[in-house]
Symmetry: C2
Subunit: 339 residues, 2 copies
């Protein structure tokens, strides 16, 4: 049976949310796996004692230290050896557990995963992606979104290869299309390093490692021209954060607009409330909780990175994601293609 | 009296829209300047003959060739010497005109402006910016948005300096804040070239050339943390195109959402139409026509670059923008600070 380590201390609503999501995952799945919840005893055990969990495959392990959102990744990894983060990943490294799930400090989790788990054979730099809604079915997956800046062409090519494998085995998309994010569609556009990347992506496509469709532009992200969008972490991170700020920004414009219509008597309150609800619903495709998080691709182990805002539902889905990634042998496939 | 050259052939709706915008500008301003409309005689003169323009400061000049949206910039500039683009800019270079305005092929206009007008003293690379709506008053101005990729730190610093001067003299914002777009707020974040840029922007701030507020992130663009956002053209171009695609994408989600409410009888048709109108209105701050276009900053002359979709209102506003830039002596100020 698989053992999944869940960081009880990670996320804005930890540990309550994490405990809840963990219990939900075990109940819903019928104890399909074992969960090792790790965190500060005085914070976590009172939450566990409130419920009858005697029927669940749930263990608890004390970790006295906590890596906070404010911690500087490289320093936290070295100085907080007794944190749930470092202890949890070490259990994976020692094969006492199969995966690590957290909604804590993303930078620290990436640094610790790299440091403790190491890289898969052939992987130059592990990477992290993010998904965007798009017109029609499916998602647009952007890689890298901040784990790597100063990327070389060979890094971008590996990001495309790793995410292709992940999409193929974990998301059942046989040949996901790969687009290179650039300032124009034509070959030969953009900075030098993207011109080189273009040629290397063509080469990877000839070897049937990826399904490269050429350069794409910023407006192609939401139109869904490619399933995988490759870029340097600076570009991807900026797009991700810009995208995340849109619902709030537009909401701050739409709400007063509806209120004005109500005040002027053109729209009744009930209709305005319905329109407001419909407006909120259009942002549901942006819902970060659906999948819960994303795997840190390329490390020699499974480390699922969640959003700080993760709810219990997000935690639950991250646990399922970890299980799925193990079952589909994603890491074995990555090592096979990249080494 | 100023003479402004207007490219009759530039834009998706040229020449009709351009002729209309030109006439509007002259009528509205009371012939405050002279306009030299330049383009293909057989296309433009029939439009002019339809109206009584005898009272206007309007001249026409024939240019047999046309640079299209499909033309490759560097090639068009060399091979289409008899185009409105090249002829118009040459008039500016020869001081027979004071500014050039076009909604045509942006890449070709930048290439031709650089080639024909040259750079202002001290300017390494001319640049182009774009404006975004933001929470509260004012706009967020992003520079560079595609004129320059493979930027060096000194290029980014000059972009910040030039746009500061433009905002100060043309938009009356005395000390616009400058933020460096990066993957994190803290100094020392991001790729090497941004770390160097950070230090050089600090230096420029000490010399009181700019008002540098440090690193900003993708979500700060719409929140309005900085008036000027500096980045490489690859990042800026991607954000610009991504942003432009948002209204259509969200509209494609909101419309069926409202229709569903009407069909289920929860919302009457009139209320849905009002909500739909309110929804459209929230995108008005994204209106590219308000200012019409942007100047190509750093060239030794005035070249206003418009969106291909420009309406007559956009053309009119670009003409005013050219006039304003001359009156405020923006180029003289740039040369003074940068040389």
């Amino acid at each position: 049976m698989l053992t999944i380590v869940v960081d009880a201390m990670g996320g804005d609503n930890a540990p309550a949310c994490v405990v809840e999501g963990t219990i939900e995952a075990l109940r819903e799945s019928g104890n399909r796996f074992e969960i090792l919840l790790i965190g500060q005893e005085d914070k976590v055990t009172p939450l566990l004692q409130q419920q009858d969990i005697s029927d669940l495959n749930l263990r608890f392990m004390h970790a006295p230290e906590v890596v906070t959102m404010e911690d500087i990744p490289a320093i936290a990894v070295k100085t907080k050896q007794e944190s749930s983060l470092v202890k949890g990943l070490k259990l994976c490294k020692a094969k006492e557990a199969d995966a690590y799930v957290s909604a804590g400090n993303t930078g620290a989790q990436m640094a610790a995963s790299l440091f403790v788990l190491g890289r898969l054979p052939g992987v130059l730099r592990p990477t992290i992606y993010a998904y965007f809604p798009r017109i029609g079915e499916g998602l647009t997956n952007i890689v890298d979104v901040g784990a790597n800046v100063d990327c070389k062409p060979e890094n971008l090519v590996q990001f495309a290869e790793m995410l292709t494998i992940y999409q193929r085995y974990a998301a059942q998309i046989e040949t996901p299309t790969v687009g290179l994010l650039n300032i124009g569609e034509e070959e030969g556009k953009g900075p030098e390093f993207l011109k080189q990347t273009y040629r290397m992506l063509q080469e990877a496509a000839r070897e049937q490692k990826i399904n490269f469709i050429g350069n794409i532009e910023g407006h192609d992200i939401l139109s869904g021209k490619a399933t995988i969008v490759v870029c340097d972490g600076l570009v991807g991170n900026t797009i991700l954060k810009f995208g995340e700020s849109i619902p709030h920004f537009l909401g701050s414009l739409f709400k007063p607009s509806l209120e004005k219509l109500v005040l002027s008597g053109q729209l009744d309150k009930n209709a305005a409330a319905l329109a407001g609800k419909a407006f909120k619903e259009i942002f549901e495709p942006f819902d970060v909780e659906k999948f819960g998080g994303v795997p840190f691709l390329g490390v020699d182990g499974i480390s699922i990175v969640g959003h700080g805002r993760s709810s219990s539902r997000a935690i639950k889905n991250m646990i399922y994601m970890a299980e799925h990634m193990i079952e589909k042998r994603v890491n074995e496939h990555i090592a096979e293609v990249l080494s």
